[in-house]
């Protein structure tokens, strides 16, 4: 099996500090990979670098496109990059307001990405938006309301619908459940778990929540000080952590 995304010695520094250093991994189709670590460990920098939101300083990054073409992502032209983001990728922000457009309705937020990839039939777009609202357990009769009329957890689900409506192959998520109360979190996690397995998505999730990682991820990368200190199968890393930092991280989880 060829990896979908393949990073080698990827480095991004901010004036020689912070950022991420020397990150290498392969992500296979259908795999959910969690990046865990404390705040300031470089998780989000790594995610943004992988999603081409910030430019890498050095290293290489390759992606296998739908038709099997190998793309060198760090040398991709701007139009190709934008096409890729529109057609094959999704990016779920930590704060739903960063990932939604506040000036248009919930339905339009879901329909826009479809229009960006060529959908023109208004009825079809509205139908798809209704379907997706139901799929993420939102009341589809509220399709014409603005995002601000929804609660935080609902906005997050709306953002997920907006990102998945174009059937992407690779989705980046930055702390998708942070800042939500636990009951909403459980609902969102269950939704993400079902969607990733039924849509056969490959997902890169940044989180600081070990529980989220255990529930969703096939694999984990543990970051500390900008470097990946441990990587492996989720249950193996959490049940038999090798690195001192991972041991601290796992033993710091409060038992319920």
């Amino acid at each position: 099996m060829t990896p979908l995304l393949s990073a080698r010695s990827l480095t991004k520094q901010y004036g020689g500090r912070n950022g991420c250093r020397n990150v290498s991994f392969d992500l296979y189709p259908g795999e959910v990979l969690c990046i865990v670590g404390e705040s300031g460990s470089g998780k989000t920098t790594l995610l943004n670098t992988l999603a081409l939101k910030t430019a890498a300083d050095s290293g290489s990054l390759h992606y296998t496109a739908t038709h099997g073409d190998q793309l060198d992502l760090l040398a991709l032209s701007e139009p190709r990059r934008r096409l890729l983001m529109r057609t094959e990728w999704g990016f779920v922000q930590q704060n739903p307001r960063d990932g939604l457009r506040s000036g248009v309705s919930a339905g339009a937020n879901i329909g826009e990405p479809l229009m960006a990839v060529g959908a023109r039939h208004y009825g079809d777009i509205r139908y798809a938006a209704t379907q997706w609202m139901e799929r993420v357990e939102l009341d589809s009769s509220r399709i014409d309301e603005f995002p601000a009329a929804f609660s935080g957890g609902m906005q997050q689900r709306l953002q997920i619908a907006r990102n998945l409506v174009t059937s992407p192959r690779l989705v980046f998520m930055d702390e998708p459940t942070a800042g939500l109360d636990v009951s909403v979190q459980a609902r969102l996690l269950d939704l993400l778990r079902t969607l990733t397995s039924t849509l056969h998505l490959s997902v890169l999730i940044v989180t600081h929540d070990i529980g989220v990682a255990r529930l969703l991820a096939h694999r984990l990368m543990v970051m500390q000080g900008g470097e990946v200190v441990e990587a492996g199968l989720t249950d193996q890393v959490l049940d038999d952590p090798q690195h001192p930092y991972t041991q601290t991280l796992v033993s710091s989880v409060l038992p319920v």
Partner: protein, 254 residues
Amino acid sequence: MRSIGTSSEARAGERAFTDNPALMLRAVGIGKTFTLHGQGGVQIEALAGVSLEVERGECVVLVGPSGAGKSTLLRCLYGNYLASRGSIAIRDAANDGQPVSITGAEPHDVLRLRRGVVGYVSQFLRVIPRVPTLTLVAEPLLSRGVPEGEARSRAAALLARLNVPERLWSLAPATFSGGEQQRVNIARGLIAEHPLLLLDEPTASLDAENRDVVADLIVEARERGAAIVGIFHDEDTRGKVATRRLELQPPLRH
């Protein structure tokens, strides 16, 4: 995929699998030492020098005092713990029966093995919020591409056999009793009929009647040709399911 230990060991391993078509699992010289960095780097030796070969239709029961490393060995075989020493190879049914080394495999190879070859039943059910019992049990079949209707009816049949009341099937098992959760866990572990089963006290919190049902299911799996390694706390179940016993002793503490 990395080779099995040293190259001569790797060749011996591959030969063992070609010479004996019934061989499912081969573990050589397994040792496990935990290093607790947070507590001054204390080293705890949990397991030392265990070797084990299991063929189809065999049920090896691990016996030994508490602390002998029985569960640790099972977890190493499943790839849940990283073995510190030794090599573990498992026959990969999907890949022409070529052995895969768990000790050096990439995560996605281990995941593939767990989907198709190795099943693990622990003492505890890991509850997933909001997922109903029937879906939870059918999941291993669905992940292999079995049609939903068939997967659900097989799950229902197994739950009924394990005496899980039908009114509970549509509920998430978080609120079930310990014994009910364990039976759901067993159903989930046994439904996919993995050719290699690792069982860590699956009967621990069950009453005698349900223990017999579980023992029957394990015997059926064995007769179907599954290779089984298990830990059972009661002599009764051991006597029913075991074809062979492996005695483990706690490693000598220095």
